[in-house]
Subunit: 507 residues, 2 copies
Amino acid sequence: MAETVTNNNMTTQQLYTTYTSLLQKAADLHSAAAVLEWDQETYMPPKGAEARGRQLATLASQAHDILTSEQLENTLKELSTRSDLDETQQANVRLSLKDLEKNKKLPSAFVEAMSKQTSECFNAWIAARKKNDYSLFAPSLKKMIALKQEQARLYGYTGHPYDALLDDYEPGATVAMLEGVFAKIKNELPGLLARIKAVPQVSNDCFHANFPRQQQWDFSIDVLKAMGYDMEAGRQDYAEHPFTTSFSSNDVRITTRVDEHNYASLLWSTIHEGGHALYEQGLPEAQYGLPLGAAASLGIHESQSRLWENCVGRGYSMWQHFYPVLQRYFPEQLNEVSVDTFFKAMNRVEPSLIRTEADEVTYHFHVMIRYEIEKGLMEGSVDPETLPQVWNSMYEKYLGVTPPDDVKGILQDVHWSHGSFGYFPTYSLGSFYAAQFFMQAHKAIPGLDELLAMGDMAPLLHWLREHIHRYGRQYTSEELCERVTGERLNTAYFMQYIADKHTKVYG
Amino acid sequence: MAETVTNNNMTTQQLYTTYTSLLQKAADLHSAAAVLEWDQETYMPPKGAEARGRQLATLASQAHDILTSEQLENTLKELSTRSDLDETQQANVRLSLKDLEKNKKLPSAFVEAMSKQTSECFNAWIAARKKNDYSLFAPSLKKMIALKQEQARLYGYTGHPYDALLDDYEPGATVAMLEGVFAKIKNELPGLLARIKAVPQVSNDCFHANFPRQQQWDFSIDVLKAMGYDMEAGRQDYAEHPFTTSFSSNDVRITTRVDEHNYASLLWSTIHEGGHALYEQGLPEAQYGLPLGAAASLGIHESQSRLWENCVGRGYSMWQHFYPVLQRYFPEQLNEVSVDTFFKAMNRVEPSLIRTEADEVTYHFHVMIRYEIEKGLMEGSVDPETLPQVWNSMYEKYLGVTPPDDVKGILQDVHWSHGSFGYFPTYSLGSFYAAQFFMQAHKAIPGLDELLAMGDMAPLLHWLREHIHRYGRQYTSEELCERVTGERLNTAYFMQYIADKHTKVYG
C-alpha cells in the first residue's frame, strides 16, 4: 500500500522508468536462462544437466517474482491512469497489464502443479518413446489434460475452452477463427494432393549423395549472409533439434543439424531458423524486455521462418543465383544435376507419417489432425485412452498412411508432454501468413523475383523490417496482417501460392 | 523481526534447509553469470556485448540481494545458537556468517561507487594501453586506490591496511606473513638466478617450428584425460585469455590459446587450467553453493594449477611417457629433438618483462614487485604519479631488465583496473604451496616419479582429492597446509624443488 502512495507522487516518467527497469530485469533473467538453454543444447557436457536444471528453475522463479510483484502491479495501474504517455508507452503499458492480469489468474499452487506435471509428463513421454508404447504415456498425459482444462477455466473464455489456451501462443486466435481457416484448407488441399498423386512422382535422388558437412555448413553461411542475417549479432551452431534463441536483438543465435547423406537436412533448416532470427534481429533494440520489443505471436514468428524457408528457399528465383554457387561446393555430386531437377526435388510432395519431415502441401494435414485432437481433448469429446486409434484413423483419412507404431504416430511430438496445447495451429497459420505476406511483397517490391534471381535479398528483408519486425507486439497478428496486406488472413493466397508452385513441379 | 520470531520456532533442520536453499539460489545466479561470462569469452558475437553487460549486472544484484537479506542473516544467527549441527553444518554456518558480516561492512553506496569505478578504471586502462601512456590511466587508478583504502578501513584491520584486502583472496594471509615468505625468497632466489646466468643458456628453438593447431589441441586433450580431467563434466575451448570456470563440480570448463609458431603457448596453459579444473571437479557436489563446496583460497587454487603445470608438466618424469606420444603428433618437428633438449627448453630461465611469460624462477620477482607496490600504495608510501618510475627501477633492480614503454611495464596487468589489490601474492603462494604439496605427495605415494613416467597420474590426483579438494573451505590455506604436510608454508620446499630442477637443466 505504501507503494501506491509513493506512486501517486511520482511523475509519469519516473513511473515509466520503474516499470521498464522491472521488466528489463525480468528480461535479463529470461535472457540468462536462454543462454543456459542454448549452452545445454550445444556445448554443455552431459554431467552438467542436473545442476543446469536447478539453475534454470531459479532464474525462472526470480523472473516470475518480479513479473508478479506488487511493485509492478501498482506501477502499471498508476501508469494506466496517466494521460501523458506517448503511443509506444501506452502500448507497452496496456500489453504489460494484460500479461500481468493473465499471470495473476494462475494461483502459485497451480503453477507449481503444472511445473511438476510438465517434468513428469516429459519423462513419461521419453520412457514411452523408448518402449514404443503409448500406454506408458497415457496416465501422465491424462493428468496434463486435466490441468490444461483447469488452466482454461482459470483464464476464462467466452467461446471454446481451447480459445483460452490458444491465447498463450496466438493472441486473438479462437476456435471460431481456426475453424474458418482450416475449413477452406480442408476443402481445397485434398484436390491438389489428388492431382499431384495422379501424375508421375518427381525424384529427389539428387539429395542422397555424400555431401561433406563442412561444405554444407559453408554454403549455409553464404545463404544466411545473403538473407541479411547479421553474423556480428548472431551465430550458427549444431544441435540435435534446430532452434532459434535470442538474448537481445544484438545476439540472436540459430542451430542446425547435418546429415552427410541427405542434403535436404541442413540447408532448409538453416534458412527456416534464419527467418526466425531475422525477425528477432529486427525487433527494436530500445524496447528490450518490453512488449514492443517482443514478437507479435508464434504465428507471425513462423510466418517469417516459412516465408524464407518455403516461399524464398524453395522458390525457383533464389536458385537461379544460388544453384551455381552450390554446384561449386559440390561439383561431383551436382554438376550433372540441373537446377530444374534440384528445384523439383526440394518441392516433392508425398504423404508421410512424420510432421517435421512433411512437404508444404501435406504438412497442414498433420497440423489439422493435432488441432482436431487438441480441441476434442479440451472439450472432452476425445478420450485420451483412445488417442492412438483416433490418430491413426485420421492419418488414414487425411493422408492415406497408417502409422506402424506409436513412435511414428501419436508419440512423435514433444509438445503435449510440455503442456503446449494450442501451439500446433501456429505452424499452419505461419505458412498461411507467409504466403499472404510474400504475395504482398511482390506487389510492393518491383522485380522481386529478378532481385532474388540475382541473389539480392536485401529489398525483401528491408520490406519485412519496415512492415512487420519493427512493431514487436504493437499489433495482434490479425491487425498486423491487415496493416501489411490490407486484409485479414485469407488462405486463398496460400492456395494460390501452393498451386502455382506445384504446377511448376508436377505440370 | 517477524522473521526472527518464526526462526525460533523452527527446528534446526528446517533452519538449515532455509539457509542452504538461500545460498544455493544465490549460487545458481552466480553459476548462470559464469555461463554468460564463459560464453562472452568463447562464442558470443561482438554486438552481444552491451546487453550481456546489463544481464550480468542484473544477475549479480539479484544474488547480492539474497546474500545480504535479513532472512539469511536471521537464519544464520539463529543457526549459530543451535547445538545440534553436525561438523560440516557448523563449518558452513560459521563461514557464511563470516562472509555475511564482511559483506555488511560495505554500505551499498560504497559497493555502487566501487562498481562504477571498476568500470571506469577498466576502460581507462584499455585506453591507456592503446596509447601506451600511463598518464591516461593514473587519474582513474588514483580514485581506485582511494576506494581500496576506504574498503580496508571499512573492513577494519589490526596490522597493515593491506591485510584487510588480502583476506578477500587469501583468508588469513597478512603482510607480516608475506614479509616472512618473500624475505626468504628475496634472499635466496637471486643467488640461483646468478648461478644460472653464469653458465651457457639452454635453447628453446625446438618450440619454434610450425605446429598445426589441431594436433596441438588433440595432444592437450590426451594430457587432460591422463590428468583425470572428466571430459563428461567439462570441456576445453579457445579464448584469448585462458581461464577456468565452474557451474557446479559436474560442469567445469577450461579455455586455452594456441600459437602455431610457438608450441609453448597452448600446452602448459592447458595443463595449468586443467589443474584448476581438477580442484573444481573434486569439490564436494553435495556442498554446491555452500562454503564447503568452494575452494579454500586463491593461493590453494593456484597451488593446484601450478603443481600440475610446473611440478608435473615441466618435470622430467611425465615426459618419459608423453614425449614419444608428442613426437608421434609432430614427427617432422620433433623426431630429431631429444627429450632432454625438450625438457631443458621448457625450463629455460631468462629474466623478462612480462609476468605471464616468465619462467618458474624469475616469475616471483614479478610478483614481489607488484606486492611491494600494492603495499606502498595502500599505506601511502608510494605515490601513484610516480608508478612507472617505481616499476621500472624495481625491474632493473630485481631482474636487470628495463621496460621500453608502459605497455610492457606498468600497464601490463589488468588486476588494478579491476580493483584487485591483494591478488598477486596468491600467484607466488600457489607456487610455494605447490612445491610443498608435491614434496609431500612424493613421500605419500611410493614410486610417484615412476608412475608419472608410465603416464599414470591417477594416484597423484587421488591423493590431491583426498587431502585437499574434498575439504572446500573447511580449513584456511595454512590449516590445510599443516594438515597435508605437517607444517605451515615453508618456502624451503620451493627453493629445494627449483634448485633440483635447475641443476638438471643448467648443470
